[in-house]
């Protein structure tokens, strides 16, 4: 059974569900939400078959299935899918998390006036995201890329009556669009050089370039296009300086934050770099840029997460920080580690967001300073949140520990020791802010106003539990189990397979750092010891800077107000007066005037008509004869 070839059905099902729910949802039970869940669940089942088939046909293989779409001139446009280990793991992540979060949304969004539309958008998003990971050519990838952007825009601004939500949606869309321009230019540049949008052909050329053979790509083009693609990835994955949109995106419903702005869409940038890794490998300088940007992002945003007080914003900054970590890993040739961390982080962060959503749903609070002791009224939420936090903090046996370790190893092997030092600092900060959030929100004394808080309903609890199992246990797929399974590195890799590697010094070192962070948070926030405030005063002015987001937003706002708007005001004036009033309306008015003058030529008198015909015939005959006589 050619199951792999049918992988295109996975996005197709969701894509069909979208218009049905959007148009007919209001007539269906549950406003059509069951259709969305049915589509994504079918997608998940299909994924299982595809994954089985992939392993059956050689787990490390790569198959491309293409269909011709249409021809325009010499260019043939195709659409097709790639099924390789990277696709398979992404399919698994997206279908599973999307399914969990849609189930969670049944309870969370209950009673919303646009309930059906919400699920329709979720279907469209799932379809686009799945198409993105399956795409075998840059054009299809770009279309899917923009579609997920649109869904993100619509879902951030889902409660568009709220001004802040509408503005956050706009900010997210504009910021990522800005980066997408670079992506498009990069894609077109590759198209110009290679003559096709096909990824496989492009990678083939990149490999020829690497091998020093005749290639359609020059090393300059490879570097330029790799950097352009990376700028696109930076926008989507909120890397510095494009990170500003992601914290604001938390205005959307919390399940949306969990799915789109933590587990799936924001990792599209990481996925893009991983997918086009052959190109980046042919341009090693680009990879160094990736590593630097990733490192800067992970450090800066980790400090911002420490300064934030809104639970969802803490998680958002943490997401950006971990995305930076994945980029860093890719920049250090840690392909497997990056994707592994992508998965581990995806499950853990989705779980944490669902926990935050549960808190908002049950206690109606988003500011951690107003929480405290919630573990007493929401034991399940507290427990699952703790698992997610432990995983992200990098505490052993939890998923994040294994993947973080792989990243550290890659950095150690391929980059300067300074990179490693800063990465370890990031690991420390990561554990610190997770512990801080957990201890302040869930431990300590229960506040008076939160006494009425209640635990989440079953439809919300179930996804949290399932995700918690994954966040706790997913890391074990890194290990060699025997029986043919030799760890994630044996099938998801770039260039050469490798088993699980373990550097004891590194693992112990990072673990000590993480535990130290947890201890610091515990003693400072629960026991009232002054360790952290001492640390804070030692590192001035960083804490103050971090609280203000290092002034990124201020600089952007100033540029928009003082430079861009002034310039566009001038352009607008030019457009109104010169282009519109003179250039467009002028000819249009003369055409209209001539119409009203010309229509009088039809007089209604038959003899006039006949006369004109005779004159026309004479004119035609004479002209013809003249042309022949002259020519």
């Amino acid at each position: 059974m050619p199951t792999m070839e049918w992988a295109w059905l996975i996005p197709a099902l969701c894509f069909i569900a979208f218009p049905i729910i959007a148009i007919f949802g209001r007539y269906l039970p549950g406003k059509g939400s069951f259709l969305a869940i049915l589509a994504i669940a079918a997608g998940f089942v299909l994924f299982l078959f595809v994954a089985y088939d992939r392993i059956d046909q050689g787990a490390t293989g790569l198959d491309v299935f293409t269909r011709e779409w249409f021809q325009a001139g010499s260019a043939t446009l195709t659409w097709g899918i790639i099924v390789d280990p990277l696709t398979v793991v992404m399919l698994g992540l997206v279908t599973f998390v999307a399914m969990m979060i849609q189930i969670y949304s049944i309870g969370y969004m209950k009673g919303d006036p646009r309930y059906g539309w919400y699920f329709a958008l979720h279907s469209l998003f799932a379809a686009s995201m799945l198409a993105l990971v399956l795409a075998d050519n840059f054009l299809l990838l770009y279309v899917a890329w923009e579609l997920v952007g649109v869904c993100s825009y619509l879902l951030i601004g889902f409660w568009y009556e709220k001004q802040s939500a509408a503005e956050a949606a706009k900010k997210a869309f504009v910021t990522t669009r800005l980066a997408d321009v670079a992506l498009l230019v990069g894609i077109l540049l590759l198209f110009r050089e290679v003559g096709t949008f096909s990824m496989m052909e492009t990678f083939h050329q990149a490999e020829l370039l690497m091998a020093g053979e005749d290639s359609l790509l020059s090393s300059g083009t490879a570097l330029t296009s790799a950097l352009l693609l990376f700028v696109g990835a930076m926008g989507k994955s909120a890397q510095i300086p494009f990170h500003v949109w992601l914290p604001d995106a938390m205005e959307g419903p919390t399940p949306v934050s969990a799915l789109i702005h933590a587990a799936t869409m924001v990792v599209a940038g990481v996925f893009l770099v991983a997918r086009t890794f052959p190109l980046f490998e042919a341009a090693p300088d680009a990879l160094l840029v990736v590593a630097i940007v990733g490192l800067a992002t992970t450090l800066l945003t980790a400090t911002m997460a420490l300064a934030a007080t809104d639970l969802k914003r803490i998680l958002a900054y943490s997401t950006v920080s971990h995305l930076g970590l994945m980029m860093l890993s890719l920049g250090a040739f840690g392909y497997t580690a990056a994707i592994f961390h992508l998965m581990a982080h995806g499950f853990s962060k989705a779980l944490l967001f669902l926990g935050a959503g549960s808190v908002m749903h049950g206690a109606d609070q988003t500011d951690i300073r107003k929480m405290g002791g919630l573990a007493k009224v929401m034991p399940l939420t507290s427990f699952t949140f703790a698992i997610g936090a432990l995983s992200l903090a990098g505490i052993p046996i939890f998923a994040g520990f294994w993947s973080k370790d792989e990243i550290l190893l890659a950095v150690l092997e391929h980059r300067h020791w300074l990179f490693l030092a800063f990465t370890l600092l990031a690991v420390f900060l990561s554990a610190l802010y997770m512990a801080r959030a957990y201890f302040i929100a869930f431990r300590g004394e229960l506040k008076e106003e939160n006494r009425t808080a209640h635990e989440a309903p079953t439809s919300m609890a179930l996804p949290m539990v399932l995700l918690a199992v994954l966040a706790a246990g997913f890391g074990f797929i890194a290990l060699e189990w025997g029986g043919g399974f030799e760890g994630i590195g044996s099938f998801l890799f770039f260039d050469k397979a490798h088993g699980f590697e373990f550097n004891v010094a590194l693992a112990v070192g990072s673990l000590v750092l993480a535990l130290l962070a947890v201890f610091l948070a515990w003693s400072s926030y629960l026991k009232g010891k002054p360790y952290l405030s001492t640390l804070k005063s030692l590192t001035t002015p960083f804490p103050a800077l971090a609280e203000r987001g290092y002034f990124f937003d201020h600089v952007y706002q100033w540029t928009i107000d003082r430079v861009i708007l002034v310039f566009s005001g001038f352009l607008g004036f030019f457009d109104r007066v010169v282009v519109n009033d003179t250039g467009v309306d002028g000819p249009a008015n003369s055409v209209k005037r001539s119409s009203f003058n010309l229509r009088r030529h039809v007089t209604g008198r038959v003899y006039n008509y006949a006369l004109v015909m005779v004159l026309g015939a004479l004119g035609l005959g004479v002209a013809w004869w003249a042309m022949v006589a002259v020519g």
Binding site: L598, H601, L620
Partner: protein, 500 residues
């Protein structure tokens, strides 16, 4: 040769069908005349199947080279049968309500269809002329069919006067041509012209004047500027289904004849007439589209719009070549589907309201959303917006002209197409943005007061809605996926100009 006469069986049967309709008409009671429409349509469908089965892949000429049954003839035969069926179906309600003697009406439609399909098949000047006259006579009668309507009578008189005049010019041109080359068969004309061109000094001016007059005569039939002035009056006066048939059927048939004539007979002298036809095309498309802006009546607007489209189609003649012929045939088909969709929507609107001014269409989107949407799709397509037939056919045609060295004409075509968008969108604006006119408001109030009795008066019939839906789907189909059509068209153009 008489042994292959059976290839004309569809024509014989179509004539018999028309006479059968006339005969049955005598025995049907007044209330059941609509059965004749179904009889005609059933007959056309049968003939369609028969023609496809019998004539598929044939390439034979009959009667000593007067008529040809090739894939070009077959394509247009199928086209006109379908068109005839659509016209009849969309006319049923209208005929029932507004016209007397429905039996004769349907029979005359069938005769016109017969004339059209022979026009596309004939390969000899006089045969073509006779077929043309069969079609024209049918139209003269149909235009004046609204016997109690003075406008219809005026339109009929104008049409027949100018028509007779142009027929005389056409015949005079044919006789001059015959005088110059001594033959009337297309292939023999082509051979004679080739010889004449080889020795250009010896060519008599008679030949060129004759060619010019033939062009004038046919220019009247398609309403090319400056032979178009009858069109607005006739379109406005004629009963609506006749206007639709006139604007689609007579034009496509005349172009089928023109394309065959120019492609098979006049091709050797293309250098001499290409520029003239191109200029004719240019002034036709500009004048038609510009003057349409000033119109207030929907039928007059569509008349000028069709003049503009004739300009575009002439562009296909000017760019005559394989790609030119292919894109022209595609244009005819796309234009016909779109135009029929718009007219059918207009007929449905007229059936409900009895009005056809643009101002009357205000608020249509609220009162009849489906009609408004179908009409809007048709108008978008006429204006050449993507996803609809109009975009695809214009794209192919203008590209063909550009590759045949008529880049300037493509430019003019695009410019006038842009102008045309203005008045099409004006109508869409009227339907979707402007409020309903005063009479409609009053009617709605009245309807509410006598709600129980007249609950269903304000609705178009299911039949016409079905026809309209099918046509709208056709518009989208041609716009999105024209490849199956292109295959048939390629083979037809190949039959005309020889394999490429």
């Amino acid at each position: 040769m008489t042994d292959n006469l059976h290839l004309l069986l569809p024509e014989f049967l179509l004539a018999s069908l028309a006479i059968l309709v006339l005969g049955v008409d005598l025995f049907l009671p007044a209330g059941r005349k609509h059965l004749l429409a179904w009889l005609s349509v059933a007959g056309l469908v049968g003939l369609l199947v028969l023609s496809l089965l019998m004539l598929w892949g044939k390439d034979i000429s009959l009667y000593g080279g007067l008529i040809k049954t090739d894939s070009y003839s077959l394509l247009f035969k199928v086209f006109f049968y379908v068109l005839g069926g659509v016209v009849i179906l969309s006319a049923v309600d209208f005929v029932k309500k507004h016209l007397r003697s429905p039996g004769e009406f349907y029979a005359i439609v069938l005769f016109a269809v017969l004339g059209m399909s022979v026009m596309a098949a004939s390969v000899e000047l006089l045969t073509a002329y006779i077929a043309l006259e069969l079609m024209s006579f049918s139209f003269y009668i149909m235009v004046a069919y609204g016997r109690n309507n003075p406008k219809s009578n005026e339109a009929g008189v104008k049409y027949i006067l100018i028509g007779a005049f142009s027929s005389a010019i056409l015949l005079y041109g044919v006789s001059l041509l015959y005088g110059a080359v001594g033959v009337t068969r297309y292939d023999e004309i082509a051979a004679a012209l080739t010889t004449a061109m080889a020795n250009a000094d010896a060519v008599s001016p008679t030949l060129w004047v004759g060619l010019a007059l033939v062009l004038v005569g046919l220019g009247f039939k398609v309403a090319a500027v400056p032979f178009h002035m009858w069109a607005p009056d006739t379109y406005e006066g004629a009963p609506l289904p006749v206007t639709a048939f006139l604007s689609v059927g007579s034009k496509v048939a005349a172009f089928a004849l023109l394309l065959r004539l120019f492609g098979e007979a006049f091709m050797p002298t293309i250098d001499q007439w290409q520029l003239l036809v191109a200029v004719l095309a240019a002034i036709t498309m500009i004048l038609g589209n510009v003057v349409a802006i000033a119109q207030r009546n929907m039928k007059r607007l569509l008349a000028y719009s069709s003049v503009g489209h004739v300009g575009f189609m002439l562009l296909g003649i000017a760019a005559l070549s394989h790609v030119g012929a292919e894109s022209l045939i595609l244009y005819m088909i796309g234009y016909a589907v779109t135009s029929m969709a718009v007219f059918t929507a207009l007929i449905a609107f007229f059936n409900v309201t009895g009005r056809d001014d643009i101002a009357d269409m205000g608020g249509l989107a609220d009162s009849h959303p489906f009609l408004a949407a179908a009409m809007a799709i048709g108008l978008f397509s006429l204006g050449g917006l993507p996803f609809f037939a109009g975009f695809t056919i214009k794209f192919y045609l203008f590209t063909a002209a550009a590759t045949q060295g008529l880049l300037w004409l493509s430019g003019v075509a695009m410019f006038s197409s842009l102008i045309s968008l203005y008045y099409y969108l004006m109508v869409v604006r009227q339907m979707y943005i402007e409020p309903a006119p005063a009479w409609a408001m009053e009617e709605a109030e009245e309807e509410e007061s006598v709600y129980d009795e007249q609950a269903t008066t304000g609705k178009p019939s299911k039949l016409i809605v079905t026809v309209l839906a099918a046509l709208t789907l056709g518009v989208i189909f041609v716009g999105v996926y024209p490849f199956p059509l292109l295959e048939a068209i390629k083979s037809a153009a190949g039959a005309l100009l020889g394999a490429s």
